[in-house]
């Protein structure tokens, strides 16, 4: 026979057991969540956005748009080729440059430059951009993503490190193109 007092004592012990497990679970959840969310927190890491050389200035003749690529600043040894990122460099007049991300501002497919018609065209959903990166036609809502650049010791550098996506409103490494619409 079990007496009621005994039962309530055991119930209390069980409840304490549950509570104990709950506390341990909550304590463990902190490091686990931080581990899972580490890709988001990575933005604060040093070198996440870095100045990267694209090559000597003479590789980019004035008035032309040329293909270039760089190695992403944050990579793992097993990333293989995926750590190499492409971009388009436009030498506007010998002094001013524009460096466009390869990703279409619609859904990220690689845009191709056609020097004959001075257009960037996207093979996926038919987006097209003028030579200054502004939207020409198709589904993109905006112009191409543009990197900040600087020239040092005869080399062209861009600030990069993150795949540009349409949702990033204020991205430190990108120039906003909204004000530069082509007529």
């Amino acid at each position: 026979m079990t007496n009621p007092d005994d039962l309530s004592r055991r119930t209390l012990l069980m409840k304490m057991g549950v509570l104990f497990n709950g506390i341990i679970a909550a304590v463990l959840a902190v490091p686990i969540l931080r581990y899972i969310l580490s890709p988001v927190a990575q933005e604060r890491d040093q070198g996440f956005q870095s100045w990267l050389p694209l090559g000597e200035l003479n590789q980019f003749p004035a008035g032309q748009t040329r293909f270039a690529s760089y190695r992403n600043p944050v990579v793992n040894p097993w990333d293989g080729k995926t750590g190499d990122i492409a971009c388009w460099v436009r030498n506007v007049d010998g002094k001013t440059f524009q460096v466009f991300a390869i990703n279409c501002a619609h859904l990220g497919c690689p845009v191709r430059w056609f020097p004959q018609s001075n257009l960037f065209m996207c093979p996926c959903h038919g987006g097209a951009y003028y030579q200054d990166g502004s939207r020409a036609s198709g589904p993109p809502e905006r112009g191409l993503f543009e990197y900040h650049y600087k020239i040092e010791e005869g080399k062209l550098f861009i600030k990069a490190g993150e795949m540009p996506t349409p949702g990033q409103k204020t991205q430190s490494s990108l120039v906003t193109l909204e004000t530069r619409r082509c007529v």
Binding site: G83, R112, T165
Partner: protein, 495 residues
């Protein structure tokens, strides 16, 4: 034989499941549900088992590393005996699984099986559909080629549009700032551990409910579901005209499943494995990425939506669709089950089928994408160049050199992004042609800055020759009035 019996008895004395299994196998089902319409669920289950087996076999070789995955797929295709066949089985099994799950869903919807008391069975089924699609998408990523790489970029671009937390979702999805090793590793974990684990658990719950609640009775027009009486009626039905599931109904399931397995194997043998396409090297941009078959409709929708509609539709559309599916059994949990008395249900299925079919069809030939090499590889058909002046032929050269052909077809050759130009001169006057070329408009870029006046003149004079024989050129009637001699003007306008 006696030994097997003894071993069986020994095991059952310890496991104590024999009685339950026997009762489950022999539970009575309504006689007319032993039907060829009731075989899709079991077939989906059998293909799922095939996927688990072939998946484990592939994991023996596959390397989930961004640098090596593509190479390991090449080894599977070419270096391991029959590796290509196992890959093909897994790839075709995936397509069959999505197709059968969809068929199963259509069948249970049309047969009213989601109504009381099987609401939860339907809801679990909706999640099973989502997981099946999740497996299809993550599986496409594991085939780590160009399509997978840019497909991830597409997924990231969609995810980034979620208000406020979009960029954080992108980082979580990619496992870092770019598509790289961490991305593939987490998709591997999803495809191999997380989703299959959930799938197994949800399939178990789904099956448990099918056994506990009984298979949906064959819908009869007029046999209306009422919460108060349904369970009683169902039990009377199974008592009166029930047959044991084994072997009364199961033989059709077995036959159909075997047939499906045979079809998967035949497709695998005949068509071979899917890809991989080019190396996942983002600096190789000569590629036109496209998704696997079951996501082609989405690819088409993304191309055809107006820019301003896209983000709302992408973010709100799935929520509404999921909401409708989940709420369906609660809103119409009672009433008629038969499709003969549910015209809206039948029309909805037809509408969705036609829409998905049409979008998928469009997705197979992507009329919205410029044909990137049409300007250099597709020539202008000779009949458009016969008996043309030097200026007009010069215009044809401009047409090719300025990549007009990438978006505009002549005689069905070339891009379909813009209208075909075979008869453009019958639709547009010279002024309109010049305006369109220089200013663009509609969906066309403006070429004003990229064409010299001489090139524009030549191009437009070529375009003016493009009309079917015997059809007059488009005429600007206002110009006729303006250029009319003074004497022809009506007398009433004179003072």
């Amino acid at each position: 034989m006696r030994l097997i019996g003894q071993v069986g008895d020994w095991l059952d004395a310890r496991l104590q499941v024999g009685q339950t299994l026997r009762e489950t196998a022999e539970h009575p089902v309504p006689r007319d549900t032993a039907s060829w319409f009731y075989v899709f669920g079991s077939a989906a289950f059998v293909v799922f088992i095939l996927q688990i087996f072939t998946g484990i076999l592939l994991a023996l070789i596959y390397v989930p590393s961004a640098g090596e995955a593509w190479n390991s797929l090449q080894v599977l295709n070419h270096g391991i005996q029959l590796g290509w066949f196992v890959r093909a089985l897994h790839g075709w099994g995936s397509n069959f699984m999505v197709a059968i799950v969809l068929l199963h869903m259509v069948q249970v919807f049309l047969f009213g099986a989601y109504k009381f008391p099987r609401e939860l069975t339907w809801i679990v089924g909706v999640f099973l559909l989502l997981m099946t699609l999740g497996m299809a998408f993550t599986g496409q990523v594991l085939r780590f080629d160009q399509d997978a790489y840019w497909g991830l970029g597409l997924g990231a671009s969609i995810a980034s549009r979620v208000p406020v937390i979009g960029p954080a979702i992108v980082h979580l999805m990619l496992g870092g700032p770019i598509i790289a090793g961490a991305t593939l590793s987490r998709f591997f974990a999803m495809h191999v551990f997380v989703i299959p684990g959930l799938l197994i658990a949800f399939v178990a719950v789904h099956l448990l409910m099918v056994v506990k609640l009984g298979i949906n009775d064959w819908p009869m027009p007029g046999r209306v579901v009422r919460k108060a009486t349904y369970v009683q009626e169902y039990h009377e039905l199974t008592k009166k005209e029930g047959v044991p599931f084994v072997p009364g109904a199961v033989w059709k399931d077995l036959c159909f499943s075997a047939l499906i397995l045979l079809a998967v194997a035949a497709c695998a043998l005949y068509f071979g494995p899917f890809g991989p396409s080019g190396r996942p090297d983002p600096t190789i941009i000569q590629t036109a990425p496209r998704p696997d078959f079951f996501f082609l409709w989405l690819y088409a929708v993304l191309s055809l939506l107006p820019p301003s509609m896209e983000t709302p539709v992408l973010l709100i559309g799935p929520v509404i669709a999921l909401g409708v599916l989940l709420l369906l059994p609660f809103v119409v949990g009672e009433g008629e089950k038969s499709w003969r008395r549910r015209p809206i249900a039948v029309l909805s299925i037809l509408l969705i089928a036609v829409a998905l079919g049409d979008f998928t069809h469009l997705g197979t030939f992507t009329p919205w994408s410029p044909v990137m090499d049409a300007w250099s590889s597709d020539s202008i058909p000779p009949r458009f160049l016969h008996n043309r002046s030097a200026l007009e032929r010069q215009g044809a050269l401009v047409f090719q050199e300025k990549q007009c052909h990438n978006c505009h077809a002549l005689d069905h050759i070339g891009g379909k992004r813009g209208p075909e130009l075979d008869s453009v001169a019958a639709r547009r006057t010279q002024d309109q042609l010049i305006r369109q070329v220089i200013q663009g408009g509609g969906n066309m870029p403006a070429y004003g800055k990229n064409l010299s006046p001489a090139e524009t003149t030549a191009l437009v004079s070529f375009l003016e020759t493009l009309r079917p024989e015997g059809q007059p050129a488009a005429r600007d009637s206002s110009r006729v009035v303006v250029l009319q001699p003074q004497t022809d003007k009506p007398a009433s306008t004179q003072p």
